[in-house]
């Protein structure tokens, strides 16, 4: 070979900041590879803005050759919605953890879904709060031990794992794209993300993709246990697949034509 072998990073990855800041075996890296490949495939590097949350997603603040804004915990979507409203030609990607999306930022998620904001949201479901050292998240599995459920999550007291895409699908209007993928199926995940970006580009509506991820550091798992946890334990609670694809009619929602205003 004439040329020295080089890593097959997506073009939009910034090689200068690699190895990235995530832990060994962290699922974030795989998801950001899928995202990078989707951006490459669509050729939208020049107009994509990447936003990351507080949570381990913040470690991607210098990950891409993309203009990037690292925001507060749970506030990534509002910041990107703020950008999108004044710069509709841009493609905005809101990247965050399950805590940011489903706990502290749930009002933003619900509202963006209801407004059908033109934003692509990727939520990394690692069943707990990674960055703060492994506390319970809304996604924590029943019986799962975390730092704040040291004796296992008690569903009676703390509830069952939240189904994020199902939540979004329940309130988003037609035009929304909603899916759940997994790092256990990278090709599908990339496909979902790419469709989610396209949904925004074509102005159809919100795109929401949850990605089942791995946090070996806080799970305290070796590689084999990591895969087993994602593919067995998590998969049992979080089914992967597409929940909403644009155009699909939404039941219980009246048509556009219904007049709404009381006469003043």
């Amino acid at each position: 070979m004439a040329l020295a072998a080089q890593p097959q990073m997506p073009r939009v990855w910034r090689a200068e900041t690699k190895p990235h800041k995530f832990c060994p075996g962290c699922g974030h890296g795989i998801i950001l590879k899928a995202l990078g490949e989707a951006i490459d495939a669509l050729g939208i590097q020049e107009r994509t803005i990447f936003g990351c949350d507080i949570g381990c997603s913040l470690l991607s603040w210098d990950f891409f050759n993309l203009d990037t804004i690292q925001t507060h915990h749970g506030r990534t979507t509002p910041v990107l919605v703020g950008i999108k409203r004044v710069r509709p030609e841009l493609v905005v990607v809101s990247y965050m953890g399950d805590g940011g999306a489903y706990a502290i930022g749930a009002q933003h998620l619900v509202s963006s879904a209801v407004r059908n904001d033109l934003v692509t949201i990727i939520v990394v479901n690692n069943t707990q709060y990674g960055m703060t050292g492994g506390q319970m998240a809304p996604t924590t599995l029943p019986g799962q031990k975390t730092e704040t459920t040291p004796y296992g999550r008690d569903v009676k007291l703390t509830g069952r794992p939240i189904l994020g895409p199902e939540l979004v699908a329940a309130v988003a209007p037609p035009g929304a794209y909603v899916a759940r993928g997994s790092i256990a199926n990278v090709v599908q995940l990339k496909n979902f993300i790419q469709k989610g970006l396209l949904n925004q580009i074509e102005g159809r509506g919100i795109a929401f993709i949850e990605a089942l991820s791995a946090c070996p550091t806080n799970w305290r798992t070796n590689a084999a246990e990591t895969w087993r946890f994602i593919e067995k334990e998590m998969a049992a609670y979080f089914p992967t697949g597409e929940l909403r694809t644009p155009g699909e009619a939404k039941n219980g929602q009246a048509g556009e034509g219904t007049p709404g205003a009381p006469e003043h």
């Binding site: 804004i69 703020g82 841009l90 509202s111």
Partner: protein, 363 residues
Amino acid sequence: MAAKPIEGEQRAFMTGNEVVAWAALAAGADIMYGYPITPQNEIMHYWTRMAPRYDRGFLQTEDEISAGFTTVGGVLAGKRAFTATAGPGNVLMQEAMSMAEMMRLPTVVVVTQRGGPSTATVIYSQQELNLTCFGGNGEGLRIVYSTSSHQDLFNYTIKAFNTAWKYRFPTFVLGDGYQSKMREPVTIYDPATRGIVMEECRPMVGLPGIAGIDREPAHLRNTYNLEDELYDRLTASIKDYQAMIPEVVEWEACAVDDDEILVIAHGVVSRAARAAVDSLREAGIKAGYFRPITLRPFPEEALQPLAARAQRILVVESAHGQLERQVRASLYGLETPVSGYLRPGMGITPEEIIGAVQQTLRS
């Protein structure tokens, strides 16, 4: 492009909230993000009626947290974006404003103070001084203009955008519920006719060219790994802030050459203070008047010699000593006795101030 919202100058008799909406239009604000709260609502009401005619945007968010962060987004995108809030909304707004303070984002927030703490009243107070100047988990690297009249509201709303974009600190126009709801005469104008040039707004993300190829990517963060990194960042900001002070600081004073008692008030209360001082002078009492217009940065250099010269200082405010604490801290080193006429959440009339001055002089 749509026509100018205001051609030349116009006299009008309107509410303060309407004035703010006109000012933002005149200043070329691109978008308002907001969440309803009394007494700021009518800013949004007027804005949503007028903005579409001039191709300006509006987004009603789900709460003030989102209003703050979408405003941050609009500013990052290089647009003249603003929001308005009050009371508990101002409390929530601090989260985004602390990010703006860290990242030097030129956000503009109009605050129409209401009674506090908590929901308290939807009416009026000057109790959001501490919050607006020093809210959030930072050092108060902000600019806060306290307005006293509709003319101020118009002038300083326009100015706020320029100060924010020039110096890149979060900038606040601090009004109150009285100003929001009252009607009084005002002259609204196209800033250009007064020679006011609007600062250019530049995007911080979404820059031209491919990042990593044509240019470096904009990698903006508010989180540092080491204490030293943060310290360096803050030290640079503090330096900029201090360098800015002489250019930005504003105040108003009168009858301060021979005053025995200096009355200090800000915002709408300063009008009553001014009237009281006029009356007192007529009655032969040597009262002086000082009004900080910028509460942050505080005009301490201007105030010091006046305060030193006076024999007594009376701070008058619709709060329990928020301005007074600022005055005391700023004047440290002087010995002129300071007292306060403090009426948290209550309007203050010239008569009350006259009474308070007389009592102070007797005591």
